[in-house]
Symmetry: C2
Subunit: 224 residues, 2 copies
């Protein structure tokens, strides 16, 4: 019971700093996306494709969360957008304090969208609010159709589900209809996309959704 209380304290502390981050993003009119998935589902590659589609029209920023290495920040940096790498040094998720610490790395007055790539983990990151407007979860078809029911929390809290690596469907057994049925059973308002980031399939709908969310955020910006 002591452990449960402590867990509550940690989450409540994280939520309050997350709300402060959220206030900052609201004042600046920045749409913030928390991108989550298992290791290797394709977060960084989706991010690269997203940057290619939106760069030039919008000011993007990226925060890369990893336990170790700066591989992902190097990949994103090569696309010419501002990026900061957070190494958690072992921790299995990003928390709101880590985000607050790196916000000074960005010119927030210029940003339209900030994408936070969380640590590869289908469990823990879902519990830690960072101040984001939306959580997106990527599930690659190679992970199997049973994952929404086995890892329900992240699908319940997500606003968008990207079913990725659909180019591999001819080579594996995986029912995309079952993924969609189970995930929307858990969360009926989930926006679902089917993509291949190597084959560049399904990315237009994803881009249109992101643009819609960005515009909503700009419109709701408080007068300061």
């Amino acid at each position: 019971m002591k452990r449960i209380e402590l867990q509550k304290d940690i989450l409540s502390h994280n939520n309050s700093i997350g709300s402060e981050n959220g206030d900052t993003f609201a004042r600046k009119g920045i749409f913030v996306l928390n991108l989550m998935s298992s290791p290797g589902a394709g977060k960084t590659t989706l991010l690269e494709r997203t940057i290619e589609l939106l760069k030039g029209r919008y000011q993007l920023g990226v925060i890369e969360g990893d336990i170790a290495t700066a591989f992902d920040a190097e990949r994103i940096g090569a696309h010419g957008v501002p990026v900061t790498q957070i190494n958690t040094g072992g921790a299995c998720h990003l928390d709101s304090s880590m985000i607050r610490k790196v916000l000074a790395d960005f010119d927030l007055d210029r940003l339209d969208m900030l994408i936070i790539e969380n640590v590869g983990n289908l469990v823990c990151p879902a519990e830690f609010f960072l101040g984001e407007d939306a959580k997106a979860v990527i599930l690659s078809v190679t992970e199997g159709e049973d994952k929404p029911l086995k890892y329900p929390l992240i699908f319940r809290l997500a606003t968008a589900l990207i079913i990725n690596k659909i180019d591999l469907l001819p080579h594996i057994e995986c029912s995309v209809p079952r993924i969609i049925r189970d995930a929307t059973g858990i969360n009926p308002s989930l926006a679902v996309f089917q993509t291949s980031c190597t084959g560049r399939q399904g990315l237009d709908a994803w881009k249109a959704w992101l643009e819609g969310e960005m515009h909503k955020k700009k419109k709701s910006r408080p007068n300061t």
Copy 2:
């Protein structure tokens, strides 16, 4: 700092119950494997293939760890081996108390090997000793070659690495030599296997390794 101290307390409490579990397994001469990976890397399918190869010659038991559902226990149960499902209800890893609680479900005097399939997570399960003789980590090639350096702890603590889904190599970009180089760089004594559990490739070497470990454990059994 308070949080770090508490984390130490939790791990130390877990380790002491893990050691008690380990003493029980030693007395009974049971080889215990803690099988870990990201969600969808192929833990349950490897387990099914392993059971097919060893059943009849050895007495096997399986503990299935999942956040929710009994899908995996049902799959394993269909192969006619004793299996118990643990649902963590949200927790991102199994701990040694959860294992202790279900040991009474097995006839420990008869078992040769107990395989514990951990929650799908490449991060947290590595930190929690359950009383096992060996940790095995599965990395599927679809997850990408950069994972050993990005998630080093689990590769450092593992005794065996199973590089799985090699049947998909013709359809993706992934360097198996780089996985092996990086993983054995972190852990030079790692036993490495390359398998396809759907294509039934590479399983003989894995089976031989398991049999070797089982025999070592039987020989080291204390006289009671």
